[in-house]
């Protein structure tokens, strides 16, 4: 019932991925007090996880160095779960609680993978594509293991390349989109030289790994853990033995905190103006939550938000053209990797859709809305708060998710009640909260 640390910032950045890092660095350059919060042990977000140490990406190294030397308070391993009053966020760590006051807030909360259910998807060692990559970056030995990569999106190739580089055997990469979609997407790369280089490098790195389109997982098999995967390839089922299935269907923006704070959402993205301002005063948003766009877009949006939040409007304006270019790429990506309707019929009656509460597909088929499903089956009422099953249910049934209430992440009760009274650990008295 005590707060371990009260901190106040002119600019507070939530999310330590590329957008957040860029925002924090630029805001600090304007001379204001800046803080950055991330729930992982180090900054970098998902895409640069582990890269800061092994120097893989030039951008990662550059921004990491800029952030390290910038006058920014870094709070890692802390997860924001609530805004008890305007201008104050509460963040929980493994053993502590932070009360963070801000004048301006930049939400760079990134994205998560979209998971779609199919028979066997709940077996241990079936993970997201980014999920398996994150595990390998966190120490999972992958040398000599067979990994099938499936789903959709540019993440698949990047993950396959990474895993291969670390000694995994990749029998196949299954992309559900069509050749024409992929070709059109590749054509847009012509406007993006950096992307072409990246693409070629990836193609070079893969060398000989079969990459098939119009292909998706039909079922995962195994008793206590994954043993094999059946994929649909050229319309025919094909079974491969494997140790891991890395399967994700592109990305879904993390907008829960934004919804809680009252920011207007449009088609699943946070609405922002040219300075990355949301519809709520003093709250900015940058990166994936404004529209899935990848690293370049995130870096530019982050910088614009950081500058704008710190009052550097002219400097921010200079970055607008670069952002436009990056955003165009993002729109093409979205179209190319839309999930095809065939995947709606993948789950069978028994296939679990809500993993927290083990709600099977058949029980959900009887419901007529997300709200009804929640009340009658508890789908979406578990600790993931619908982050996994929500996008799946939206794809399967076209249900629209409903409002967000605190806590936006599960939090310890002692922290959820923290402002009700009681002294700070260091002895200072707590301001009463009414």
């Amino acid at each position: 019932m005590s707060r371990d640390s009260q901190q106040r910032f002119d600019v507070l950045v939530i999310g330590g991925g590329p957008a957040g890092m860029a925002a924090a660095v630029r805001a600090a350059e304007c001379g204001v007090d800046v803080g950055i919060v991330d729930d992982n042990a180090t900054v970098g977000g998902q895409i640069w996880r582990g890269d800061l140490a092994d120097g893989r990406s030039r951008d990662a190294v550059k921004w990491s160095e800029l952030l390290r030397t910038a006058k920014v308070t870094k709070l890692c391993g802390k997860r924001v779960f609530d805004q008890p009053e305007k201008g104050v966020l509460l963040a929980e760590g493994e053993n502590d609680l932070f009360e963070l006051r801000y004048r301006n807030l930049i939400l760079a909360t990134g994205a998560r993978e979209r998971f779609l259910p199919f028979p066997g998807w709940t077996l241990p060692n079936v993970m997201g594509a980014g999920g398996l990559q994150a595990m390998v970056k966190s120490g999972l030995p992958i040398q000599g293991k067979r990994v099938v990569v499936a789903g959709t999106g540019p993440l698949l190739l990047a993950v396959a390349a990474y895993l291969k580089k670390h000694g995994a055997e990749i029998p196949v990469v299954c992309e559900q989109t069509s050749w024409s979609n992929l070709a059109r997407f590749t054509a847009t790369l012509l406007g993006q030289p950096a992307k072409i280089a990246q693409g070629l490098r990836l193609k070079g790195e893969l060398g000989g790994v079969p990459f098939v389109v119009n292909s998706w997982p039909l079922a995962a098999h195994g008793r206590q853990a994954l043993e094999s995967v059946t994929i649909s390839r050229g319309g025919k089922p094909e079974t491969t033995q494997c140790d891991f299935l890395a399967c994700g269907f592109h990305l879904v923006p993390n907008i829960e905190l934004q919804v809680l704070l009252g920011c207007q959402i449009q088609a699943g993205h946070v609405r922002v103006d040219e300075f990355q301002r949301t519809t709520v005063e003093s709250i900015f948003c940058a990166g994936e939550p404004t529209g899935i766009g990848g690293v370049e877009s995130a870096l530019l949006e982050g910088q614009i938000a950081g500058l704008a939040a710190a009052g550097g409007m002219e400097e921010a304006r200079r970055l607008f053209p670069g952002r436009e270019k990056a955003r165009r790429f993002a729109r093409h990506m979205d179209r190319a990797f839309r999930v095809r309707p065939e995947l709606r019929i993948l789950p069978t009656a028994d296939t679990i859709v809500c993993r927290c509460e083990d709600v099977p597909y058949s029980r959900l088929q009887r419901q007529t809305s997300w709200r009804e499903a929640k009340l009658q089956t508890r789908c979406g009422m578990g600790p993931c708060q619908g982050r996994v099953c929500g996008p799946a249910a939206q794809f399967l049934f076209k249900w629209i998710p409903d409002s967000v209430r605190p806590p936006v992440f599960p939090a310890r009760i002692e922290n959820l009640s923290a402002l009700a009274g009681g002294p700070l650990k260091n002895g200072a008295a707590l301001g009463g909260f009414e």
Binding site: P84, S369, L375, Q385, P407, A420, F433
Partner: protein
Amino acid sequence: MGAGIVGAACANEFARRGMSVVIVDRDVVGSGATAAGMGHIVVMDDSDAQFALTRYSQQLWQALRPELPDDVEYESCGTIWVAADEEEMIEVRRKHDYFTRRRVPVQVIDSQALERLEPNLRPGLAGGLLVPEDGVLYPPCAARFLIERAQKIGAKLQLGVSISQIGQGRIRLSDGLELTARIIVNAAGAWAPEITPGIEIRKRKGHLVITDRYPGFLRHQLVELGYLKSAHSVASDSVAFNVQPRRTGQILIGSSRQYGAEHKDVDHGILMRMLQRAQEYMPALGQMSAVRTWTGFRAATPDKLPLIGPLPGDKSVFMATGHEGLGITTSLGTAKILVDQITGANPEIAIEPYLPSRAGKEFAHA
């Protein structure tokens, strides 16, 4: 009107007695207080009338229990009214006598017994009253079960329907359509006054928190005796210690009461006070993971008894609402005595305390 637990119970009862029934609701089944409440089936001794209805209805639930599907999650976990000090123990003994005289099995437990029964309560409490026949269930599925039962014997359900006016056997829907019925039952809970203007029902907002799964942490529904002070207070905001073990192993934490709060947003001040109170009784809650919070609106009447019976001034309209925090418990009893009144059968408990006419007003029908 209203597909919450009370409307569902009434629909089922009417259908059972051979009447043709239509249930309408502007949202989904059990979307109001039914979705938000604790699902505690509890016998209360606030007043003889409250006791009569809760006890009668609790026994109806016990009789229905074998037919309830699994997802209704009916558990006879019992209630322990927790006494923090000697003064509250006096209240415990008073309740014990009251219930015993009325043949409700209860047991006074001392400090050591309380610790044995609920080891996660803080030490140093004075004791409590164990009511073993109290239980808990999951209300949205219970409401759905009752409605499906009614549908099997011919009742019709229309969801997504808003009522704009009722009276004299007619119901006008917001899309202009009109229905006619011999009997119109207002079971719209906290929104009942929107359909029947002038009835004295006010919204009494409550908050709840549910944790992740911690099987074995809690065995009974625990309620502090101070709860009664909270439920009694007519004017101010209050919180009380009230926790429930769900079959899932999750702990449901309540409770709070506010008048005059019309918005459904979580009120942080109240939420924090409620959780603080809960940790005072069960310190180990502090380390537990809270997964969701939500609010709901109880339908509260000035004398704390529901309105069950004909609306003065309109022969076609009947009320089945105003149950405050006892809607789940008293839904079955409400349905029985309401339908008894209408069919001329003999109600098994006295109906006078719940008649809408007790307010002494006539209601202008819209």
